[in-house]
Amino acid sequence: MKPIRTEQLGINFGGQPVLRNVSVSVDAGEFVALMGANGTGKTTLVRAMLGLIRPDAGRAWLFDTPTDSFRDWQRVAYVPQHLIAANAVPLSVEEAVRSALAGPRQRLRPLSRKQRTSIQDALDRVGLGTRGRERLDHLSGGQQRRVMIARALVTGADLLLMDEPTAGVDQGEQNRLADHIRDLHRDGATIVLITHDLGPVASLATRAIVLGQPSADSVRYDGPTPPPARWTEQFWHHSHDEESGPSLLEGP
């Protein structure tokens, strides 16, 4: 059973192609880095894999089930690039993690002792075990990203899709996040990680999929990490062109 599979996936925004002819599959237990310059559709591809966007062409499957009829969502955890918008009503760190357990299967069921313990365990694992009652928006950006990882941990999902979990995070925090994600992979989770560079987190990946501009087929490289230099150089130049600062792509 393949946790993720896409077949000739194509997505357009406003008539312009964003993804073209993407056919990839991810085996159970793999750690895949999804790479590419800005505008190559990395986030769009992950959102299509999750059924958050309906493709204009092709199909996507989660655990061999078409995404639009997939129901086994407790097997999947998504860590988006954006942080939880806890700036209107206060949200505690513990509540942010607990929200991952909400769902149709949990209706009218109080959280079990095991689930309550798993919330504290998840916070302990990301080093925030004593911060559960604090306001989420009072934590630093890096700490909030660790809360997002804890949300993924508490679900017990065996497929994790993470969209740049180290964006805006300093080197020390990146190393800590890498430790947590390494633990998840070691526990058997399949991981798809969107990243701009092969920093400490992405260097854990054993396979890279590099996307290019959709003037041709989107997937330019699909193989072991690190990707060959000709793809890294192309990506590096794209990053230079489109971003304010360089995005280093180095081997692990």
Binding site: A88, S99, A100, G103
Partner: protein
Amino acid sequence: MTLLDFDFMRRALLAAVVVGMIAPAIGVFLVQRRLALLGDGMGHVALTGVGLAFLTGSAPIPTALLVVIAGAIGIEVLRGRSRSAGDVILALVFYGGIAGGVLLTYLAGNRAASSLNQYLFGAITTVSSTDLVWLLGAALALLAILAVFGREMFAVSFDPEVARTQGIRTGFIGVLITILAAVTVVIGMRTVGLLLVSAIMIVPIAAAQQVTRSFRGTAALGVLIGLASAVGGVVASYYLDVPSGATIVLIAIAFFVGSLGLAAAGVRRSA
């Protein structure tokens, strides 16, 4: 004689307790979803229901309930299908609601027009036993829905995209929150009035969030502030002979100002 010696005041206090507790419990989701003005709009739609009740001679509360639920569903359907921006759709429904209410009330005759003020500004001392039964029934239905879907409403309010990957039907939950707000408006219209009912949903939450650290703490403190404002407003209106709706809202605003002061002084509860 004390105010509890009067049947109408006992009914008024019971209605105040219901509204004071229910309105902030729903309002906390509106504040998080940045839909604080949705209650105002639904109040306009409820006016059409009241006008329709005047015209047909039916009971205003159940008629308004049906109209606001239809309005809530209509807003969500139009937002999903129309090319117009979401706020334009809201504006159209709200303008249509108040225009429909005024027209239907006019067609119902002079007596209806003179009763309209009770619904616009609240007249809690005129709450009948039948009104109370409807209020309690609607409030129990809201609590039951909160018990079943509350956690999903919470997840959708904070991160709808991630909520979808948890198997939550975010579109359905969005419609549900709008319907709950609409029903709350009808519950509150006899107490606070359609023009002010949104305040009792929003202001207690705005006051609570100044001094709390969590969603649950904000909801709990908001309910307490709503309860104190509603009961305090009814009691004050009895002794001071002032309008209950306006008094309730001003007390809630006083709580907000007080909590702003506490927040400025650095007080933040562990809630």
